[in-house]
Amino acid sequence: MSISQVLFYFLSALALGSALMVVISRNPVHSVLWLIVTFFAISGHYIMLNAQFLGIVNMIVYAGAIMVLFLFVIMLMNLNAETEPQKNKWMKFAGVVSGGCLLMVLIAALKEAEVKGKATELVTGEIGLIDNLGKALFTDFVVPFEISSVLFLSAMVGTVVIGKREAKEA
């Protein structure tokens, strides 16, 4: 077993395990923290695939910004394990079962896929490097790039509008 394989399995195990903990934890704060661990694992996968830019961006944006936002909101509402509402047993059971079934079906569909046996290049590869990405982004994909900035603007405006307290009507 080469080192990349070992690393792959380790990172995968970490990702799956922490994802499970996200779902299972009763304290929402713990869920957030486990999710951050999951993001770290996934970023590790990115780095292994030599998608360096994405790996770093994943860390910064997701784990850094989005999760922090989540934590803010959770702290704001002062949620902890006692006030956590629990779905009834049957719903949970149904949820788990249907999720499991979906997993089974998707993996079974894999058997028929044409992409079986194709290898992914680990560690090496030029496309994950930032200058290649940047070149493609600013030449072929410049329009979506600009529009995404408009998207951000509208999201910001929307958030502020939604979050504003209504003036009390007399």
């Binding site: 999951t38 509402m77 290049e121 496309i127």
Partner: protein, 109 residues
């Protein structure tokens, strides 16, 4: 690593995310599980981009770059979505003083 390994990993993460959405009642946790699902998809996209790169044997040099650019845009959208979504949840909390999705059943009417 063959692509099947990545596919299995992504699908597993995705399904865990689904189980989380179905099982939890806290709206914020549900939101987080959605993020988990998005990330699973991202991972798979990156893996496929490298697969295409490997299959093209390096020529042209940017074969398969679409996958990674797609992931980039997904992250953009995810960020925007999280901010708006959390704003909505905060507003609901201000009205109902709870983030239990069972209370948020106005769609019934």
């Amino acid at each position: 690593m063959n692509i099947e390994h990545y596919i299995v990993l992504s699908v597993a993460l995705f399904c865990i995310g689904i189980v989380g959405v179905l099982t939890r009642r806290n709206a914020i946790i549900i939101f987080m599980c959605i993020e988990l699902m998005l990330n699973a998809a991202n991972l798979l996209l990156v893996a496929f981009s490298k697969m295409h790169y490997a299959a093209a044997a390096g020529q042209p040099a940017t074969a398969g770059i679409d996958g990674q650019l797609f992931v980039f845009f997904i992250m953009v959208v995810a960020a925007a979505e999280v901010s708006v979504g959390l704003a909505i949840i905060v507003m609901m909390y201000r009205n109902v003083h709870s983030v239990d999705v069972n209370f948020l059943n106005r769609l019934k009417h």
